[in-house]
Point group: C2
Chain length 244, copies 2
DNA sequence: ATGTAACATTGCTCGTAGTGCAAATTTATA
DNA sequence: TATAAATTTGCACTACGAGCAATGTTACAT
């Protein structure tokens, strides 16, 4: 259940009921995204969304516990998987390296899922950025991040074999990692998705492991704002023209 | 119009109006904190708070824009000041050092203010920790942190003379700093305030500047309470007696 | 001290979020 | 086709939060 869910109708797996359920779920989320992007969060009511999706307002709440949740889907499965991967992936490697790899991979799958959701990811991101100003939205997003952070904390604690209640290290690591992730996401969104997200995260984590020096490869990405930026989807770090 | 007896009478500065306003503001916040601590966030209505504070429910919203705001006061002045200090304090010093100093100082003043608010700070923290489980509360807290982070980002950008929209570095730094701050706060709260907050933050920032190594002074703090915290997982991470 | 302006409190109404419950409708299964 | 299971929907209800106008309170000038 983790992946799948792209626009390609390859898998009718599941009964008619489940397909319908998934369809309306997606429909609701997509419509919510569109409406919020064009009107702003506060000027879109649940009734609007429900009406546009041809369901009753009450049904909306059968799918999402709140208006915010329709936008930033919680998806507990992904979070649980993240915890497991943080705990067990790349055994033997230093914690920060393992964490970096897991986060990069997760970011990649997020980007994939997002580009599969709507038509144009960059366009969607641009419009979403506008709507980010609303306090409610930012709160919801931050709350979502807090859940992820909690999962990462637990995963790290398991990997290190310590109790996160007594040892502040897993929490500290998770908090900073969450910050790195968030900052990269924000910058990625503000850049319209021209730079591959996974690469941003990778560089940001390396900068973190170096103690966040003032000169780091992470900053060089911004060198070419107008033109086409780095576009290597996954491979290794793309060419940066030249450093300072 | 019961003057809500705020224990110590330090400063009568300001007209009678302002004193009254400040009194009811504090009364509302204090009552909100108490009620939420004992019943949980969702089981406390604005009407409850207003009634306990001897004001009308409508008046509550004259002081705070939301129920959450009464708990985690936004205080735009403090945020603006933080931005200025991040931008201009300790000129010439490396960014991370300056940031560390400012955050430590800010944490200290937060701790002071908090201990001056209610009777026992440690007790308050302990009770608040219980109520932290509620999603609404966590969202509100996260949103608050997001505002602080934004301010720090702007301050850093000003200090470095870059544009935070194009240069991801200020945002990255602010996000990680916010994470450090938050993790320290959380640990401080969970420890009941036995360890001085400013010291926690200081050590956490130094660990950050060192690239968050697995062994850092930050972890050794936990050795104090009842049992031994670090229990030597799969390696040799624990005791610092041996190393150094 | 007294009238007046400025400000704070309050009650009222309204729109919206979100939940619980039971009836109605749709899908799966015998 | 009948029946069981799950889903959708309507309805009632609590609570948040904003606007507005009336009322009460503090400050200030004469």
């Amino acid at each position: 259940m983790t992946l799948a869910s792209t626009t390609s109708e390859g898998e009718p797996r599941g009964s008619l009921r489940e397909r319908k359920k998934l369809a309306t779920r997606r429909s609701l989320r997509r419509i919510a995204l569109d409406l919020v992007a064009e009107r702003g969060f506060t000027h879109v009511t649940v009734e609007d969304i429900a009406e546009a999706a041809d369901v009753s307002p009450r049904t909306f709440f059968n799918y999402f516990p709140s208006k915010e949740a329709a936008l930033f889907g919680a998806d507990p499965e992904r979070i649980a998987e993240l915890r497991l991967r943080v705990a067990h992936d790349a055994p033997g490697e230093p914690v920060l390296d393992a964490l970096r790899m897991v986060m990069v991979s997760d970011a990649q799958s997020v980007a994939d899922e997002l580009s599969g959701l709507g038509g144009d990811a960059a366009d969607w991101l641009r419009r979403m950025k506008e709507a980010r100003s609303d306090p409610h939205l930012r709160a919801a997003h931050a709350a979502q991040m807090a859940m992820v952070e909690r999962a990462v904390t637990e995963g790290l604690a398991e990997r290190l074999g310590t109790d996160p209640e007594r040892d502040p290290y897993p929490g500290l690591l998770a908090a900073t990692a969450s910050g790195v992730f968030r900052a990269s996401m924000t910058f990625w969104a503000s850049s319209g998705g021209t730079v591959p997200l996974s690469q941003l995260i990778d560089l940001a984590f390396r900068a973190l492991a170096d103690g966040l020096p003032e000169r780091c490869a992470f900053r060089d990405i911004t060198a070419s704002p107008g033109g086409r930026a780095l576009q290597t989807p996954q491979g290794d770090v793309a060419d940066r023209k030249d450093n300072h």
